[in-house]
Amino acid sequence: MLYQRDGHLTRDLLRAPGGFGLGQVPARLKPDATTDMVCGYCSTGCSLTVHLKDGEAVSLTPAADYPVNRGVACPKGWEALSVLEAGDRAAEPLRRDASGVQRPVAWDDALRTMVERFKAIQAQHGPESVAFLSTGQMPTEEMALLGALAKFGMGMAHGDGNTRQCMATSVVAYKQAFGFDAPPYTYRDLEESDVLVFVGANPCLAHPILWERVLRNRHDPAIVVIDPRVTETAMQATEHLPIRPKSDQALFYGLARLLIERGWIDGAYIDAHTRGFDEYAAAVEPYTLERAAEETGLGADAVERLAETIHGGRRVSFWWTMGVNQSYQGVRTAQSIINLALMTGNIGRPGTGANSITGQCNAMGSRLFSNTTNLLGGHDFANPEHREKVARVLDIDPAVIPTEPSWAYNEIIEGILRERIKGLWVVCTNTAHSWINQGQARDILGRLDCLVVQDMYATTETARMADLVLPAAGWGEKDGTFINSERRIGTIKRVARAPGQALADFSIFKLVAEYWGCGEMFRQWQSPASTFQILKRLSVGQPCDITGIDGYDMLDERGGIQWPCPAGESEAVPETERRLFEDGRYYHPDGRARFLYEDPRPLPEPPSDRFPLLLLTGRGSAAQWHTQTRTAKSAVLRKLYPAQVYVEVNPADARARGIVTSDAVQVESRRGRISATAFVTRSVQPGQVFVPMHYEETNRLTDAVFDPYSKQPSYKACAVELRRVAAVG
């Protein structure tokens, strides 16, 4: 009565040994089995041990012995299961009726509607008038099936993915420089470098587990962070270079010149393995130390010090992410980094490389198998031999394979505007939130005759605009493989039941094929596992050859396997971590890497009197993922970031506008304005403001400018003004 030390409340928190090497777990969630699978958020590709009880996932912990993450994960990974239970999951197909309301319909109705509408549009406007936009978040098997179905079965000419928004620049940069889209590194390089240079990258928040690998580095490395903001990573650096936005290309040209001038280059490597160095040396000649210092806003001594650091390092690695990729001149900037690695011979050895860290969990799968820019398996649509090969593997008529690549995302959006695209199938992405210059993007989507959205949630900004919503199963509810940033292929598995009528995207594509009348073409695509065998055959002879992988079991046993893994060579167990180009042979026919360059261009929208501040956008916290369709569904993750959009502003700019932290402010660009909460902080420089990209409003401000080669949107530099609206409280 008076004292009660035990009871149901106490038992609720009881911990008990979980078995399976897990240590203690909540007693009521003690698993009867476990399985490991790759996380479905970012490209780090951590493995998570899913705890199963009576055949259902009840909890998860980071997998202890996976070579990528070795027992740790970021908050998104920890909460990966809870977002599957959200109340706004799409649980049945929805069709917009005559009064404009989305109403539930049966799958049969939904599929007939989709096929009828798309066929009618194609009949009227030509087969290329229907296009698709997909994702870097689905398993490779589903991407390949979607790409094959849309282009070979349904006659579409154009399809692209949201990967355009995150790594298209790296793809093009690598393809041009190395002859194939091939990030050369393995994560162990983070541990083996003595100099790490991060450019436009904030791994502490964007790839927390890669930062963990940096901390395992036992070589007391110099860590240089080149970023306009004082990010978490900049705080951890041994040297932070707060560069003027988009001046990185000038910096690296100046650096190249300085290295050449001082003879701090690897002539032997350049001679043996590259082409175009002399022209490059001539091209960077005008980039004197003074000019580099002037354009970057860094002191000349800082630039010199960086050159010395690179020269002093024996194993120098360069790492970049969206600060480079999301730029109107991203390809050339990425290549200016690649050039540094090539000319100093910092590639193909442990702890080196010009290394793009990819964004999404399966962006790398999409790069090889989405059948959009590249023909399946990293092939070329324009190459008749490649078309023959793919047709042979798939047992289809080569004539159904388009002879040129798709339009890029921005060209598809533009195509809608030009009335060339009338029907759009959006799969697992959220254009109405994430596309640059959002107001315009939504207006353009609104002009479609038919918008079909296939997603886990019926409430995404894009799904709410759809004529037809197809309910999809998510990560954890279906099988397949992802490829991570270091080219490691890992599996995902069905460990939870999808709600209501939701189906795996793979099943939906198979159904669409049947309803379209081309089901016969995809008979050998029986399941994700059998599709993986098709992918293997498609990869034969390619740099990404994976014919040496038996199947999913082998991937699980080996802790994932990096490509390439050609048959025959894998008699011996392949090393857990492998890097490319150790033999100095690149994928161009002559085996040599290329130096590529171009004069930097001025900011497309420089600050002006009316809009005197430069807007930077980017990741806000490790707990938020992109447009937040998933991460916003976890109550724990929601605790980890501000609920409302905020803008970081330097005290000098804040003072000039009478703004203090917590004030309600308005951020305005030429395209739109948003209300936000001010956060006055020195982590942004004077003249710049930062708004996280995860909030719906952010892209109302951004300016639709693209890299001419990669067509990647330049999210990180447009002019804005800030105004105080209301006082704190």
Binding site: D12, F20, L29, R96, T661, R671, F706
Partner: protein
């Protein structure tokens, strides 16, 4: 050419978008076997393929937790000796702000949907050339002198004598949430669905088996460790107030967590939420409980004072109604206060903490007060009906009986009033104990006792109007003539003093630094300005204007129907306005307090 240019060029030429035709009645036929195919896929979707891939057995990990090697360096080498205990040890330099510790605490401990016992805040500052941002992870600090434990009225906390871990006994808790007010670090978290508080126990079951707590094993950077600390060292370090920038003063509870950095943090480091003021939770049941207990105590006190000032039969004849009405409010207050508990059926456990908990003492004092008040009210009714003598069957002369009765009543009356005052004093101490500036002892005492005066005086009009309404116009008339001016003048003085006292907080708006009282003033003039205005308006109306009006009109005795009504309306307005004003004041007391906390986020 960019898309935006294209829009400019083409948007005028673009035809009106054709409205989509209705999509019902698709003419495409379903393929043969389509429905079975849909069914097959739907069926497949509902089967998890566990048998195919589950890792068969735990033999592979017979050696214990697979992560043990990873975290062994973060664990104490030896158990604590005498004069030592376990403590969290945070390496600020290693924390990169990923917040995995928060998610892992939630997940590995199987907590409720949004529950986690760890939080991560942000400090920022530095100079233009060297800006600094620093994330700060925080959980229970397993204090040497845990405020939660001392505050707890039901002994639901214990500090382990060996490990020093402050553990919460969930089944012992009755959900008063006082510990959430007492802890300066927001460590105990209230669960509405369970009706109890829960908190970090440093994963003591795990520690006991040599396993790392959830946060320790989940930090990718190894920034959180468990160390053995010397109690003496913790006490000494608390003297320098260098716990972590922006944190509450460590001397209050002697937190044991060590925040370490090799850097010299700039002196202008402030939490990201330093300038953010949010109203705190208002706790309506506590607002009602405080205001109404004070009303009741005040009414009994006023009754005592009136007897002192205006002795005689008059007081005795009003007494039954007066004490009954005061009692009703007192009982109502105590009833409401029980509703505040997450598990009201265990309310009786409140007596357990008498030795240390002001909340226990408050509950006891008001319990005694209520008991005495019931007896007193019953006695005054009985006395006025002349019952005691007859009941006892005494055939004594009237005078001695009356004397005994009067003596009994006098002592009882003062017993009620003084036990009530003691209860109010305990209420004061309940809030003083939290060490919040806005709730400091003298100020809270002034506030609560002035409320006692204001509401006691205002409520004294109720028995007068009840007597009047009951038809005893003669008695009412005399009483109002005698008491009215006293009550009016008293109320005006008490209200004026109280409003001035409350308004004095606004002087902190002028203070240069963002003190907690400045935050309170910000809240009262900002987010809570409507409440503030309503509070002062009600106070002015009920405590100054109405009694002033009554005084000016010389407190008209009700005679005749019309004036009856006017009098009832005036008195009703006076009472209700005073009560509303005090309730709003108490709302602000809770909502506008700036609570101490660890550095938070925007």
């Amino acid at each position: 050419m960019t898309v935006s240019e294209n829009v400019a060029l083409e948007s005028e030429a673009a035809p009106e978008p054709v409205p989509s035709p209705p999509v019902a009645g698709a003419t495409v036929a379903s393929p043969a076997g389509a429905s079975t195919l849909v069914d097959r896929y739907l069926k497949e979707q509902q089967v998890t393929a566990v048998a195919r891939f589950a890792q068969a057995h735990d033999a592979a990990h017979a050696g214990g937790p697979a992560l043990a090697g990873r975290y062994s360096a973060l664990m104490p080498a030896t158990p604590p000796a005498a004069g030592q205990q376990y403590a969290f040890d945070v390496d600020l330099d290693a924390c990169s702000g990923c917040k995995s510790c928060v998610a892992a605490c939630h997940s590995l401990n199987g907590l409720e949907e949004e529950e986690s016992w760890r939080d991560v805040g942000l400090l920022h500052g530095g100079s233009r050339s060297l800006p600094v941002v620093q994330h700060v992870t925080t959980a229970c600090h397993h204090c040497l002198d845990p405020a939660c434990m001392h505050a707890c009225p039901v002994e639901a906390y214990e500090k382990d004598p060996v490990t020093g871990i402050v553990k919460h006994l969930d089944d012992q808790c009755f959900g008063c949430q006082y510990c959430t007010l007492a802890c300066p670090y927001e460590a105990p978290k209230y669960s509405r669905s369970k009706g109890i508080v829960r908190k970090c126990d440093m994963c003591s079951d795990r520690l006991a088996e040599g396993e790392a707590p959830a946060c320790v094993q989940s930090c990718p950077n190894g920034a959180i460790a468990i160390r053995v600390v010397d109690v003496e060292q913790v006490v000494e370090e608390s003297e320098t107030h260098l716990f972590v920038p922006g944190a509450p003063e460590p001397a209050l509870t002697l937190p044991t967590t060590a925040y370490r950095t090799e850097r010299v943090l700039p002196r202008n480091m402030v939490p990201a939420d330093y300038h953010t003021v949010r109203p705190e939770q208002a706790h309506w049941s506590l607002i009602l409980m405080l205001a109404l207990t004070q009303l009741s105590v005040g009414a009994f006190l006023v009754e005592r004072l009136l007897e002192l000032l205006v002795p005689g039969a008059l007081t005795a004849s009003i007494r039954p109604v007066h004490s009954a009405s005061a009692l009703v409010f007192g009982l109502l207050a105590l009833g409401v206060s029980v509703l505040h508990l997450g598990r009201p059926r265990y309310a009786y456990r409140a007596v357990l903490g008498l030795r240390h908990s002001w909340l226990s003492r408050e509950i006891l004092a008001f319990g005694v007060f209520a008991g005495l008040a019931v007896i007193y009210a019953a006695w005054s009714w009985a006395a006025s009906a002349g019952w005691p003598g007859r009941l006892a069957g005494w055939e004594l002369t009237v005078a001695p009986v009356a004397a005994v009765e009067a003596g009994f009543g006098w002592w009882l009356g003062w017993g009620v009033a003084l036990s009530g005052a003691a209860g109010v004093l305990c209420s004061v101490m309940v809030y003083d104990y939290t060490k919040r500036d806005f709730w400091n002892g003298p100020a809270t005492a002034g506030r609560f006792f002035l409320t006692t005066a204001v509401l006691g005086l205002a409520a004294a009009w109720l028995p007068l109007s009840i007597v009047a309404a009951a038809g005893d116009e003669a008695l009412a008339g005399v009483a109002i003539d005698r008491y009215g001016p006293l009550l009016c003048r008293g109320l005006i003085v008490a209200t004026a003093v109280k409003l001035l006292f409350e308004a004095a907080v606004f002087r902190h708006l002028a203070s240069r630094s963002t003190t907690s009282l400045k935050r309170t003033a910000w809240l009262m003039t900002g987010a809570l300005s409507n409440v503030t205005m309503a509070r002062f308006a009600a106070g002015l109306l009920g405590g100054l204007a109405m009694p002033g009006l009554l005084l000016l009109s010389r407190v008209p005795a009700p005679s005749g129907q019309g004036q009856d009504l006017v009098f009832a309306v005036l008195v009703g307005m006076l009472f209700l306005a005073c009560l509303a004003g005090e309730l709003l004041e108490r709302y602000l007391f809770f909502a506008a307090v700036a609570s101490p906390r660890m550095p938070g986020t925007l």
